[in-house]
C-alpha cells in the first residue's frame, strides 16, 4: 500500500472492494470540471483505488487529438490525460453515438478507449461502487 494512513485492516479490506467511475461530460475549455475530475483520478490511484473513466456526451471532445491549447494560453490537459496510464488507469470508455455525432474515430482520440453503444452504458455504470459525475 502506498498510503501509510491506511493501516487498519478493515479499511484495507474496504479499499480492495471499491471501484470508481469518473464521468467526464464537458468539452475542453468549458470550466474546471474536466481538470478537477482528472485530479480525483490521480488521487484515487495513489490510494490504490481502481479508477475507470467514462467520457460521456461532450466529454469525448476532451480526447480529440491535435488540440493546441497554447493558442488560448491554457494549460494542455491532453498531456495530463495521457499521464493516466502511468498511474495504471487504463480503463476508458466512450459512447459510440457520441463518437458518431462528432465524426470521431479511435484514431482521432488521444487515449485508447473502449467504444460502447449507448444502450450498454447503464450496465457499465452498474458495475461500479462509486460514481463521481462533476
Amino acid at each position: 500500500m502506498q498510503s501509510s494512513s491506511l493501516t487498519e485492516p478493515s479499511l484495507l479490506a474496504t479499499n480492495m472492494k471499491k471501484n470508481i467511475l469518473l464521468i467526464v461530460r464537458n468539452p475542453p475549455f468549458a470550466n474546471s470540471s474536466n481538470a478537477e475530475t482528472l485530479d480525483i483520478a490521480f488521487a484515487c490511484a495513489a490510494f490504490d483505488l481502481p479508477v475507470s473513466l467514462l467520457f460521456l456526451n461532450d466529454g469525448i471532445l476532451q480526447l480529440a487529438n491535435n488540440q493546441q491549447s497554447n493558442l488560448l494560453e491554457k494549460k494542455d490537459l491532453t498531456n495530463n490525460f495521457r499521464a493516466l496510464a502511468m498511474y495504471d488507469i487504463e480503463d476508458y470508455f466512450v459512447i459510440a453515438e457520441d463518437a458518431q455525432r462528432y465524426q470521431l474515430t479511435q484514431n482521432d482520440l488521444i487515449l485508447n478507449c473502449k467504444i460502447i453503444n449507448k444502450d450498454k452504458m447503464a450496465a457499465l455504470i452498474r458495475t461500479f461502487d462509486t460514481v463521481i459525475n462533476l
Binding site: 494512513s5 474496504t14 479499499n15 470508481i20 470540471s33 478537477e36 463521481i132
Partner: protein, 130 residues
C-alpha cells in the same frame, strides 16, 4: 451508516451547498456518521472568512461551522482548488507571499487524498453540485 459529502458548487449561484448542509443535519439526527465534508471546485469560496453576507441573507459558512462544532465534523477544503481561487490559510499565504490569510477557522486545507480516503472509509459518498 458512514457518509461523506463532496460539495462541488458555487454558493452564489445555486442551492447545492444548502442542500448538503440539510442532508448533513438530517443524517446526523438519524444517528449516521459523517466522516468528512470535502469542498472542491468553486465550493471552496464558501470557506473564505473575507465574505460579507448582507444582513437579510443567511451566512451558510457560519452554519457549517456551528454544525461542525456541535458534531465534531471534518470540514476539508481542497488545497489546490482553494489556492487557485484565492482561499489561503496562514501557511499558504506565507508560502505564496500574500498579504493575508482568509480561510475560516474550522476549515482545513488539504489534498485530494482526503477525498480518496473518504471514498474508502464511507459507505456512501454523495456529491452535491449545481
Amino acid at each position: 451508516m458512514i457518509f461523506s459529502l463532496l460539495i462541488y458548487a458555487s454558493q452564489n449561484s445555486g442551492q447545492a451547498e444548502h442542500s448538503a448542509l440539510r442532508f448533513t443535519r438530517s443524517a446526523l439526527q438519524q444517528g449516521h456518521s459523517i466522516h468528512r465534508v470535502f469542498f472542491y471546485g468553486e465550493a471552496v469560496s464558501a470557506c473564505s472568512a473575507f465574505k460579507v453576507t448582507p444582513r437579510d441573507e443567511v451566512n451558510i459558512t457560519e452554519q457549517w461551522l456551528k454544525l461542525a462544532q456541535d458534531n465534531d465534523l471534518d470540514l476539508v477544503v481542497c488545497i489546490a482548488a482553494a489556492v487557485r481561487r484565492g482561499v489561503l490559510d496562514q501557511a499558504e499565504a506565507k508560502r505564496h507571499q500574500k498579504g493575508a490569510a482568509n480561510l475560516s477557522d474550522g476549515f482545513e486545507l488539504s489534498g485530494l487524498g482526503q477525498l480518496a480516503d473518504a471514498i474508502i472509509v464511507s459507505d456512501r459518498t454523495i456529491t452535491f453540485g449545481n
